[in-house]
Symmetry: none
Subunit: 117 residues, 4 copies
């Protein structure tokens, strides 16, 4: 696992999990791996994973059943909203980068067309 250390690790792990939820790798209602397993998977401290799960729950992305574990939300609207939000961030970052090269949104769209055939 490699982290872009500019961002706190817990935020990066949150993004990874959200991405997996959004693209269906983790399905609604599916159980997330245990804190301990996730800590091993990303080679980080279990306390950091705890914080990740806590923040995900605060955002409504997951919920906890005492003694059972942590589960992906079953609220499909919430998931759609997450996807939209993450996509929006990607789009704005992309347009900002292109703008710094002096490339307009219109031209950017044309480049995407060429790139994706």
């Amino acid at each position: 696992m490699e982290f872009h250390s500019a961002l706190p690790i817990y935020l990066q792990v949150m993004s990874f999990i959200k991405r997996d939820i959004v693209n269906g790798t983790l399905k609604p209602g599916e159980k997330l791996p245990s804190v301990r397993d996730t800590a091993i998977q990303y080679a980080i401290n279990p306390n950091t994973v705890s914080r990740v799960y806590r923040e995900l729950e605060m955002e409504g992305v997951s919920y906890t059943k005492r003694g059972m574990g942590t589960f992906v939300t079953e609220d499909e609207n919430k998931i759609s909203q997450m996807r939209a939000e993450m996509a929006k961030d990607l789009v704005s970052g992309f347009l900002e980068g292109m703008g710094q090269l002096g490339i307009t949104a219109k031209e950017a769209i044309e480049l995407i067309r060429q790139s994706s055939g």
Copy 2:
């Protein structure tokens, strides 16, 4: 100045300078700030800037006049090529990120249209 510490500083500074060349902030033939001034500007070691200038020159992005300084290439084709390359990298990174969200290029274009209205 803040660096995304995942990438070596010298690569990030190279990108900054290339971006300024591509978007016209630095014009063809214009003198780059001295190694020492650039080191102060980014709060890094002059040796690191030295490496940046050396690598830029090896890429054909700049040239050096001994005792005079380092200058932006006057080869406009080279600059166009740089812009194309940097744009291509942004596009492919963007499409990869969207793909991870389960979003196609076609849908991505639609999102850009909405975002840039």
Copy 3:
């Protein structure tokens, strides 16, 4: 080890290594000594060797496996090309020197014949 101080040390060490590759002392795919060992061998700073290895890699003369070491390229065409290039440099330098003595290429060849019997 003695250096002709007119040329930067890193260029001279590059030449030594290339020469050993070209004449088969270092075989394709063979591991080069570590940065630290080479630094000791030539009694120079490891940073200088680092630069040597980096530039050799950029020239396609070697490649690096992270944590494993630096290895001679396995591209025999590249090696042939290096030999041709280095020989060409020697020949042109030789002919230039002879020219300064007022000796033509034809006469130079005759001198080589006599010298090598």
Copy 4:
């Protein structure tokens, strides 16, 4: 003026002057520039030039007329001998360099033929 500082400067200047004698730039019996002028020309210390002239005279390359200056020997045989000696050094250095590339004298001659048309 640039010196390959591995060799003492006085030896390098001696070579320059001998080369000019051998290729006819300095003719037999011609007066060499004054110690002072030569010192300025090569941007070196007059004492160094004095040594150069002294050693040249000891080798029979030049002679001194008190109060008149230093002159190129008029012994054409001596000059021919110098040319032969300098050429021999170049040839042996060339063959040694080619040998280090695994190239024989025969192949070297062929390369010279190709290079000089």
